[in-house]
């Protein structure tokens, strides 16, 4: 029987000619990652194994991203634990100021390539699947095992296919596609499954825009998100890849558990209302409710790339953030931060009255750099709007694309971007 992309990648990593959904396999991993929140637990479990060294220090990356530069003494201790382990083991490590959010940083520096099995102790590890790699989020204990042995147990997941026909409308981007999709299938619509994305609407989409879709596979319960490798992928990978990559194509007779087809030209700009990423509502409906806001966050592993900041900047150019609203803009990596200094975006955002900061996950998970008080409302380009996610349990988060977020910052309420142009 034919195999999907995911099945082919997994079969190749457990030396089997064929795998099928449901098979339990022990799988080799090409790359392993943990961050400053998950690494301390992984290191603690690693020490219990009685193993002296990680399986390959050049395939293990530790990335401080969540609470760095450190927000308090305890988070400084966690970052220190990770830093000392990285030095001891000689594994890949990026110091604060030279790093950023792992899900943007690692692919942009070529550490993960098409055909890889990549596991990370962070749910948004799935982001990198847009490169045609099997990228899977796991817990700290799983990652400790992967760091020690270079292997991990897995149950081969079924693949769900998502096809987006047609072209995107203006003001509709990859964030809207994925919010719309999660709204349709629900927050457990892809539970334990691979989401494979393809179709005309994705063909012209940059890898950076594609990452936004695979990023939010986590919000649909998926195990991995995958996109077939094309010329756009290769143009992204070729200049940065640190290893040879492998392209896997699905067999014509492979089995998909389900196929969801969309007419992308009919998908509108979408907002996810509190308290679930699955609460997808058309922006045109949301604006009727005249929702006043207190804060905007533009950044995160979902929408903190240069293109996202450019999209927001086009809205904010020459304008000011509304009175009594704070707008926080955070590039996802220091590489992007540097680009914004060179191309004038840092100046543009600062002149508009935004708080513009060094790379960090920061406010997305309510860590620091923009925690919400009781009763406050925030429009965020990030991926989760669960109760308490960005601060007080009675604060509200609205998920949107960067243009909608920027427009909200200017208007002080949720509006269509055209309203502030």
């Amino acid at each position: 029987m034919g195999m999907t992309i995911a099945e082919k990648i997994l079969a190749a990593h457990c030396d089997r000619r064929e795998v099928q959904p449901g098979d339990l396999i022990n799988c080799r991993v090409d790359f392993v990652m943990a961050n400053d929140v998950t690494a301390p637990l992984a290191i603690q479990e690693f020490r219990k194994l009685g193993v002296a060294r990680v399986f390959d220090p050049q395939r293990v990356a530790l990335v401080p991203s969540h609470f760095v530069p450190n927000k308090d003494i305890q988070s400084a201790a966690q970052a220190k634990t990770m830093r000392e382990f990285a030095r001891e083991q000689g594994c890949i490590y990026f110091e604060q100021g030279q790093a950023g959010i792992e899900h943007i940083l690692l692919p942009s520096r070529g550490y993960v390539v098409p055909g890889d099995v990549y596991v990370g102790a962070d749910s948004h590890t799935v982001t990198v699947g847009a490169l045609g790699a099997f990228a899977c989020g796991m817990g700290s204990t799983d990652v400790a095992i992967a760091m020690a042995t270079g292997e991990i147990w897995m149950r081969v997941p079924p693949t769900l296919r998502f096809i987006y026909h047609g072209r995107l409308n203006r003001w509709v981007d990859s964030k809207d596609l994925i919010l719309h999709t999660i709204g349709q299938i629900g927050t457990d619509g892809a539970l334990y499954a691979v989401m494979q994305f393809e179709g005309e609407a994705l063909r012209d989409m940059s890898v950076n825009a594609r990452f936004t879709m695979t990023n939010m596979v986590a919000e649909a319960g998926g195990k991995a998100g995958l996109m077939p490798v094309d010329q756009v992928t290769l143009d992204y990978v070729r200049p940065v890849a640190r290893r040879q990559w492998t392209i896997y194509e699905p067999d014509p007779d492979c089995q998909y558990a389900a196929t969801h087809e969309f007419d992308a030209s009919k998908i509108e700009t979408t907002v996810a209302l509190p308290f679930s990423p699955g609460n997808a509502v058309l922006l045109s409906e949301v604006v009727k409710q005249d929702i006043k806001i207190d804060q905007v966050f533009i950044g995160s592993c979902t929408n903190g790339r240069l293109e996202d900041l450019q999209e927001a900047a086009e809205i904010m150019r020459g304008k000011k953030v509304a009175p009594w609203v704070r707008c926080i803009v955070i590039p996802a990596t220091q590489d992007i931060y540097l680009q914004t200094l060179k191309n004038g975006l840092a100046e543009l955002f600062t002149e508009a009255g935004c708080a513009f900061s060094t790379a960090t996950c920061g406010p997305c998970l309510g860590g620091y750099m923009g925690v919400l008080a009781e009763g406050e409302r925030c429009v965020s380009t990030s991926n989760r709007n669960f109760r308490g996610r960005m601060g007080h349990p009675n604060a509200e988060v609205y998920l949107a694309n960067p243009a909608v977020a920027a427009a909200a910052a200017i208007a002080g309420r949720i509006v269509h971007p055209e309203e502030v142009l």
Binding site: L49, T141, T187, L191, A218, G388
Partner: protein, 166 residues
């Protein structure tokens, strides 16, 4: 030995942000995490929970982030078992890996309410609601996962496997 405890029942999509909010992720200490368990879903939980109690929930329990702090907090709060209609996949792995028993059983969820006393037999998957005198059968664990649970979790299982190899 079967597990026995009182039910704390919740709805669907109980996510890791409400199980243990990120503001407490600057520690890995189980007791500290336990003090904030379920804080943003049910602020009274920590005061009410007794050793051995059982968390019962609808679908997709533990969705959201990969934070192992969530099952750690639940286990350290004294919860003996989580019964849900379904679990988010990372939470499922994390719970098995640290030998926190979790069972999938729709009927037991629909047939139990907060305060009921449940008895759970992990090996057989038999669940009895002692308050109502009803009985349910959970999906049995695959053998590999039972092996992990019996070993006391993935680390101990792997440690033994590596020791055998060496």
């Amino acid at each position: 030995m079967p597990l026995r405890g009182h039910v704390h029942k919740y709805g669907a999509d109980v996510n890791t942000d409400v199980i243990i909010p990120a503001r407490y992720l600057n520690t890995t200490d189980p007791q500290e995490l336990a003090q904030h368990c379920m804080e943003d879903e049910d602020p009274e939980f920590v005061r009410r929970v007794r050793p051995g109690d059982i968390v019962v929930a609808d679908t997709n329990f533990g969705c959201g982030s990969s934070r192992e702090h969530a099952p750690i907090a639940i286990k350290a709060a004294g919860v003996s078992c989580v019964v849900a209609k379904s679990f988010a996949r990372i939470f499922y792995r994390n719970a098995i890996n640290m030998a926190l028993p979790i069972l999938e059983c729709e009927e037991a969820v629909d047939g139990s309410d907060s305060g009921d006393k449940l008895e759970v037999d992990l090996e057989s998957g038999a669940i009895r609601n002692l308050t109502r005198g009803t009985a349910f059968q959970a999906k049995p664990f695959p053998d590999f996962m039972l092996e992990l649970l019996r070993a006391g979790g993935l680390v101990e299982y792997t440690r033994r496997r590596l020791a055998e190899k060496a």
